[in-house]
C-alpha cells in the first residue's frame, strides 16, 4: 500500500500546484527590494541577473567572482550569474523575451547584436557609453556592430580576428618568406603546390559557411565593401571596382592560379583545418584557436613548431589588410526592471580593468589600444593584434546572417564564376540584387 500513498501524495501535490498556481500565486524568487541603509551604497539589497555563454572554467569563475565582488563594493548590489550553453543561446533568449523572464545583462556574440536589436530585445545605451570616459577609449572602428542607426546597443567586451595560418616547416624548407603583397602570396602558394604535390592546396579557398571571413580581407584591402546603409535602406556595393578587384583575386586563386583544388569549392574553415591536419594545406584564413585543434587532430604530427600565423597583406604591401572583426559583447536586456543598475554593471564589466581581463583570460583580444599594443609584443599574437587594429565588420543588418550563410549569396556567386557559368561582372550584379533584397526585406 506504500505505493498508493506515494501516488496519492504526489498526485495531490501536483493537482494542488496546478490549481494554486493557476490562481496566480507566484512562487518565483522575487528578491525583496531592500531599502538602502542611510549610509550604505545606493543600490544595496538589489540583485541583477547576468547571463554568460558557455561553460565556466576556473578562470572564468574567478573572473566573475572578482567582478561581482567589485560590483557589490561599488553599488552595494548583488549580481547572480547564470551560464547558458553556447549552442542553445538563441532558444534561451527567445524564450526569455516571450516569457519576460530574461536577464538584466547578457553576453552576446557581436554578430548577433543587430538581429536582436531588430527584435527590440536590447536597450539603447548610447548615453551610457558616450558618458563614460573609459568606454570612449575603445576605438571607434570597433563599435560598428554595436551601432545601429546611430544608436549604441552593446559594448564590445573582447575581440577576435582572423589571419593566415601557414605551414612554417614548408616555408622554411622551400625558402618562402611570409608574403607582404598579393603577388607574393600567389607565388608562395604556387611554390607549395609545385613542391608538395598537386593534391595540396597552396592557399585553401573557403567557399563554405564562413567563406566571407576569408573573402572580406581581399575586398576591404582593395577599398571595397559589401553594402552600406544609405537614406534608410541598404545599398549593395558588390559591383563597385574595389569589391570586384578583391572578388576577382579570390576566385582566381582557384580559376587562374590553381592554388586550391576545384573539387573543394564548398569547404569551410573546419573542413580546411581537417585537411591541414592531414598535411594537405599550405595556407588558409582562420583564427588562433585552430592551432590547438589541428595539433589534436593530427595526433601531434603537426604541432606548434610547424605552424605559424601572418597577417593577410594589403595588395601593395602597405601593411595588414583589414580582416573580419569578431568578438563578444555585453548588453542590457530591454526588459530589465533596473536599467540604471544594469548600466553600472555594464560600465564596470567592459571598463578597462575588467574588459581587458575578460579578453585576455578568455583567449580574446583586448579592445583598449594600450592593452592591445602590449599584447602585440608577443610574436605569436602580433599577426592578430596588427590585423585587429584595422579590423572591420560585416553589414550590421539583422538579415546579414541570411545572406551570409543561409542563402550563401557570395559563395554561390564565386562558384558560378569559377565553374565558368558567369563572368565576374554578371555574377556580382546578380549577387548584388539578391543581397539588396535580403538586407531590405
Amino acid at each position: 500500500m506504500k505505493i498508493v500513498k506515494i501516488a496519492v501524495a504526489t498526485s495531490v501535490t501536483a493537482a494542488l500546484a496546478l490549481g494554486l498556481a493557476a490562481c496566480g500565486s507566484d512562487s518565483g524568487t522575487t528578491e525583496p527590494t531592500g531599502t538602502p541603509a542611510a549610509s550604505g551604497p545606493k543600490f544595496a539589497g538589489q540583485t541583477l541577473t547576468v547571463w554568460r555563454l558557455g561553460a565556466p572554467t576556473d578562470v572564468a569563475d574567478k573572473y566573475m567572482n572578482d567582478l561581482n565582488a567589485k560590483f557589490k563594493e561599488v553599488t552595494g548590489a548583488d549580481a547572480k550569474v547564470q551560464w547558458i550553453p553556447w549552442p542553445d543561446a538563441q532558444k534561451k533568449w527567445t524564450a526569455a523575451l516571450a516569457g519576460g523572464e530574461g536577464p538584466d545583462v547578457t553576453e552576446f556574440g557581436n554578430d548577433q547584436v543587430a538581429a536582436w536589436v531588430a527584435q527590440d530585445a536590447l536597450s539603447d545605451i548610447t548615453d551610457v557609453v558616450k558618458g563614460d570616459s573609459e568606454l570612449q577609449q575603445i576605438p571607434q572602428n570597433l563599435w560598428s556592430y554595436e551601432t545601429i542607426d546611430g544608436k549604441v546597443y552593446a559594448a564590445p567586451w573582447g575581440g577576435g580576428t582572423r589571419a593566415v595560418l601557414y605551414r612554417k616547416d614548408w616555408f622554411d624548407k622551400l625558402g618562402i618568406q611570409a608574403p607582404k603583397t598579393w603577388d607574393e602570396l600567389v607565388t608562395a602558394a604556387k611554390t607549395i603546390v609545385d613542391k608538395q604535390g598537386k593534391d595540396v592546396d597552396g592557399f585553401a579557398f573557403n567557399g563554405g559557411s564562413d567563406a566571407n571571413m576569408s573573402l572580406s580581407p581581399f575586398v576591404w584591402s582593395a577599398g571595397g565593401d559589401f553594402a552600406s546603409f544609405e537614406a534608410g535602406k541598404w545599398v549593395g556595393k558588390l559591383t563597385e571596382p574595389g569589391f570586384k578587384e578583391g572578388f576577382q583575386f579570390y576566385t582566381d586563386l582557384v580559376a587562374k592560379d590553381g592554388v586550391s583544388g576545384k573539387g573543394r569549392l564548398t569547404q569551410n574553415s573546419v573542413d580546411i583545418a581537417q585537411r591541414f591536419a592531414a598535411g594537405k594545406v599550405g595556407m588558409y584564413v582562420t583564427g588562433g584557436w585552430d592551432i590547438a585543434a589541428i595539433k589534436e587532430q593530427s595526433k601531434g604530427k603537426i604541432d606548434e613548431s610547424k605552424m605559424g600565423f601572418f597577417s593577410l597583406p594589403n595588395k601593395d604591401g602597405s601593411g595588414p589588410a583589414p580582416a573580419f572583426q569578431g568578438g563578444n559583447d555585453i548588453a542590457i536586456w530591454k526588459d530589465t526592471k533596473n536599467a540604471e543598475l544594469a548600466a553600472e554593471y555594464l560600465k564596470l564589466a567592459s571598463g578597462k580593468e575588467f574588459g581587458v581581463r575578460y579578453a585576455k583570460e578568455g583567449g580574446l583580444l583586448p579592445l583598449y589600444p594600450d592593452a592591445l599594443t602590449e599584447m602585440g609584443t608577443d610574436p605569436a599574437q602580433k599577426p592578430f593584434t596588427d590585423t585587429f587594429a584595422v579590423a572591420k565588420g560585416f553589414p550590421a543588418s539583422p538579415n546579414w546572417a541570411e545572406a551570409n550563410d543561409t542563402k550563401a549569396v557570395l559563395q554561390n556567386a564565386a562558384r558560378s564564376v569559377i565553374d565558368g557559368k558567369k563572368t565576374v561582372d554578371q555574377a556580382l550584379a546578380d549577387a548584388n540584387g539578391e543581397l539588396e533584397t535580403i538586407l531590405n526585406q
Partner: protein, 338 residues
Amino acid sequence: MAQTSTVARGGGDPSAPARRHSPRPRRRTGLPNWLVPYVLLLPGLLVIAALLLYPLYQMVDMSFHQVGLRQIRAINPTPAEFVGLDNYNSIFESDLFWTSLRNTVVFAVVTVALTLLLGTLVGLLLNKLGPKMSTFVVVGIMAAWATPPTAQAVVWKWLFDSDAGVVNWTLNLLPDWLSNLVFGRSDWSGQPWFNDTITLYLVLIVAVVWASFPFIAVSVLAGLKSIPSELYEAARMDGATAMSTFRKITFPLLKPVFSVLVVLSTIWDFKVFTQLYLLAGGTVNRDAFNLSLWSYAEAFSSPPKMGLGAAIAVVLTGILLVITFVYVRNIIKTEDVR
C-alpha cells in the same frame, strides 16, 4: 470514518477529493455511475487542456499572423498583424514544401515498416527465449533505447564517418565479388554518407530504427505476457504450427496493441527532429529538411518567422490527420458502439 474512505478512494481517484465538491462517496453507492468516467478523466484532462490544448490553440492562431519576437514578447508586445492565409500560401508556393514533404513521407513509411517488423520479431523472440537469455537481450536493447539522442546521433555519425567509420571499414572487408554483386562497387574507402540527401536519410533510417525498435519489442512482449498461456497450451494440443498459432491467437489478441503502435510510430517518425538536426548539421542543408526541421528553421533562425513556422506545424498535423484518418474512423465506428 469518512476520512478512511477518502484515503481508500484516493488510490483509485487521487485528485478528486482535493478538487471536487460532489457528494461524499460511500462504498459502492457513492458516485453516480454516469459521473465516474468524468471523475477519472478529470486530472488528465486538466493537464492536457492547460499544457497542450491551449498552446495548440495559440499555435493555430499564430499561423494566421505575422509573428516575430516583437509580437510574442511578454513586456510591451507589438500587436501581431493578421495576414489571413499568407503564411499558408507561402508554404505551398515554396520549393522546400515538396522536398520536405517527400523526405518526411518516404522516411516515415520506410522507418515505420522496418521498426515494426524488427520490433515484433524481437518481441516474439524474447517471449520464446529462456528467462536468463531474455533478460540479457532485453537489457541490451534497453541500452540502445536509453542512449541520449545527442549521443545517438553523434555515434552514428562516427560509425558512418567516411575515413574512420566502422561501416566503410566493414564494407571493405566484404569479398569483392559479393560487394560488386550487391552494390556494384568494392572500394568503400572515403565513401561520404552525409553529403547526399539519400545516403543521409539512409543513415537516419538506420539510427531511428535502431533507437525505436526496442519500444516496439517491449510493448509486444508486454502484450504477449498478458495473453493467458492456456490458449497456447490448447493450440499445442491441437497440433497447431507456430505460424498458425501466431495467425490465430497471437495476432488477433495483439491487434489493438499493433494498431496503436503503428499509429504512434507513424506520428513519431513523421516528426523526427533531433537526430535529423544533428546528422544534417543544423539547418544549413535545405535539401535535407523534413517538415519539422523546416518549421523549426523558419521559427527560430534569424529572422524568426514564427507565424510561418506555426503554419508549417499546422500543415504537418493536418497531413498526419489525413494519414491516420482511416484509423481514427475505426475508433469512432467500432469502439464507441461496443
